[in-house]
């Protein structure tokens, strides 16, 4: 329905724009800092391990490491974007400005998730760019890289929406981050190929959706991976759809947002 020239997409576009603008205004912290972090990881790990370890036969460890670092930074920042925006709005009370307008549940969800993906992509791109002078990183299948980057960002963006809605204080949010997101990321093969793990841990990794995100992402760079990229794509897609359904159901019910 149109009134006063109002159109449905404008609400979504504005919320998306505002969410991007919000992190861009402080991009030094929201993009610059994570890129610097990843760079430090890269310098330290490569110095310590590069000469001793190779992966997939002949790939130097640092080269192997970079896609993992890119993805890890992307995922963490996608999560941080939606979760911190929501909890800040809830705590300051200005969340009402997005709850009063006629923004549909889907527009609301999509705006927060897409903004998270955009922040994740910026950070991922930044980490990739700063690594270029140090290593010679191939990218055999760019489309796979992009698909897993977007899906991974969307999954973590959705988890951020869930956490941001659920948490009532900042420490609840950091609990979510420290006890769920961090372990899942760290145990997903960011720093190693799971073939180097004992069989039990290999099995455990296979129930961690983060493993499939990173493995599929890495496939895009090297054309090699621990499992088939199609399997990874399947797992990651199903995972995203489940999270989207859960988040939308929370929004439709007004869980914790509309008392």
């Amino acid at each position: 329905m149109r009134e006063h020239g109002a159109s449905g997409w404008v609400g979504f576009r504005t919320l998306l724009y505002k969410e991007i603008w919000r992190f861009w205004k402080v991009s030094f912290q929201t993009v610059g800092a994570p890129v610097l972090n990843a760079l430090l990881f890269l310098l330290i790990f490569s110095h310590v391990l590069d000469r001793h370890v190779t992966v997939y036969g002949d790939i130097a460890y640092t080269t192997f490491l970079v896609p993992g670092l890119v993805m890890m930074s992307l995922l963490q920042n996608a999560f941080a974007n939606s979760s911190s925006s929501l909890i800040q709005s809830k705590i300051t009370g200005n969340i009402i400005f997005v709850l009063l307008p006629p923004i549909s549940h889907r527009e609301f969800y999509a705006a927060y998730v897409v903004a998270s993906v955009v922040r994740g992509l910026f950070v991922g791109l930044g980490v990739w760019l700063v690594s270029l002078p140090f290593i010679d990183l191939p990218m055999v299948r760019p489309l796979w890289v992009l698909v897993f980057a977007v899906l991974g960002g969307a999954i973590l963006g959705s988890m951020g929406v869930i956490a941001g809605i659920w948490a009532e204080k900042f420490d609840q949010l950091s609990a979510f981050q420290n006890f769920l997101i961090m372990p899942l990321t760290m145990l997903s093969g960011v720093f190693y190929s799971i073939h180097s793990l004992p069989p039990l841990w290999q099995d455990v990794s296979h129930v961690n959706p983060f493993f499939f995100m990173i493995d599929g992402f890495r496939y895009g760079f090297f054309g090699q991976s621990d499992v088939s990229p199609w399997l990874s794509l399947g797992v990651v897609s199903v995972c995203f759809m489940l999270l989207a359904a859960v988040t939308l159901a929370m929004l439709v019910r007004g869980y914790k947002l509309r008392g």
């Binding site: 009134e3 724009y17 009370g93 200005n94 009402i96 400005f97 307008p101």
Partner: protein
């Protein structure tokens, strides 16, 4: 069928655990009305507004804004409604103008600058249009909240204590502006703890207590029903006045007489004359909403 109410509230209850913030509340506000929602702290005014705005869900009952149900037809209902919240909330990331553009966009309006400038002008905010929200005083932030509620020209405007913490001059400016909105056809619902404000502005008033409506009538009728006129007199012979029901004030030798109807003043003055008590000075007190409020809150 009669014209739909601007706000139609039917048997709305809102429970927070054992607490009944609203209890089976029904109310119609008609298009074009200037309606006052009064009541002591905790009466349920803000809760009622939250339920109207979809910020809270009623435990039972239904609400329509301009004929649109706030639950099942929430997008249309919200387009009809502008809410000025009681709490002084703001987004510290943006300037005043940025916020108003964003708020317009949320309501589907991509280009709204002409109207935004008009609102800023009416609210004396143009000099602060490009200031960050953090840099505004409390009263200015409150006016930005008013501006944010108006970006989409809602036919129904609800203001939850818009004049709290606003200085006298600005309060009068705000009154004028809200009156103008009302004259232009907007339906206004106002909550306030300044009863003289409600008396001056509102055509009809609902008084709430413990989540129930304890009085609902036109402001005039409420005043007529509950409030008394009063006459203050200084007499040459105060004892005669006291004998006729006058109450002595603490200072100045004034006596106060209460009346239900102005006609009774005649009678009193005649009796005083007959008893030989001369009137030295006299003031007439208008009925005040405050009396009505106190009366109702004590007895309801």
């Amino acid at each position: 069928m009669s014209a739909p109410a601007a706000i139609r509230i039917r048997s709305v209850s809102k429970h927070y655990g054992a607490l009944r913030a609203l209890h089976e509340l029904s109310l119609d506000v008609m298009p074009g009305e200037f309606f006052g929602l009064l009541g002591p702290n905790g009466a349920g005014k803000t809760t009622l507004i939250s339920v109207m705005a979809g910020l809270a869900r009623p435990t039972s009952g239904s609400i329509e804004i301009m004929g649109h149900d706030v639950g099942s037809d929430y997008r249309r209902a919200r387009r009809q409604l502008g809410v000025v919240p009681q709490e002084l909330v703001f987004d510290p990331f943006f300037t005043v103008r940025e916020l108003l553009r964003i708020q317009s966009g949320y309501f589907g309006l991509a280009r709204n600058d002409a109207w935004i400038d008009e609102i800023l002008g009416h609210l004396d905010l143009l000099p602060k249009a490009d200031a960050n929200m953090r840099a505004l005083s409390g009263g200015m932030k409150r006016r930005v909240l008013v501006a944010q509620a108006l970006v989409h020209r809602p036919p129904v405007i609800v203001l939850d204590e818009p004049t709290a913490g606003v200085d006298v001059e600005l309060r009068h400016g705000l009154w004028q502006f809200i009156r103008k909105l009302n004259r232009d056809g907007h339906t206004i619902v106002l909550t306030t703890h300044y009863l003289e404000e409600a008396q001056a502005l509102c055509g009809r008033i609902a008084m709430l207590k413990n989540g129930r409506i304890v009085a609902l009538d036109s402001t005039k009728a409420l005043l007529r029903r509950f409030a008394t006129h009063s006459l203050r007199l200084r007499l040459s012979n105060p004892d005669v006045g006291v004998a006729l029901g006058g109450v002595a004030e603490d200072e100045g030798g004034w006596l106060v007489f209460g009346f239900d109807a102005m006609a009774d003043v005649e009678t009193l003055l005649r009796r005083l004359r007959e008893a030989g008590a001369g009137v030295e000075e006299m003031t007439l007190g208008e009925p005040e909403l405050e009396q009505v409020f106190m009366e109702l809150m004590q007895h309801a």
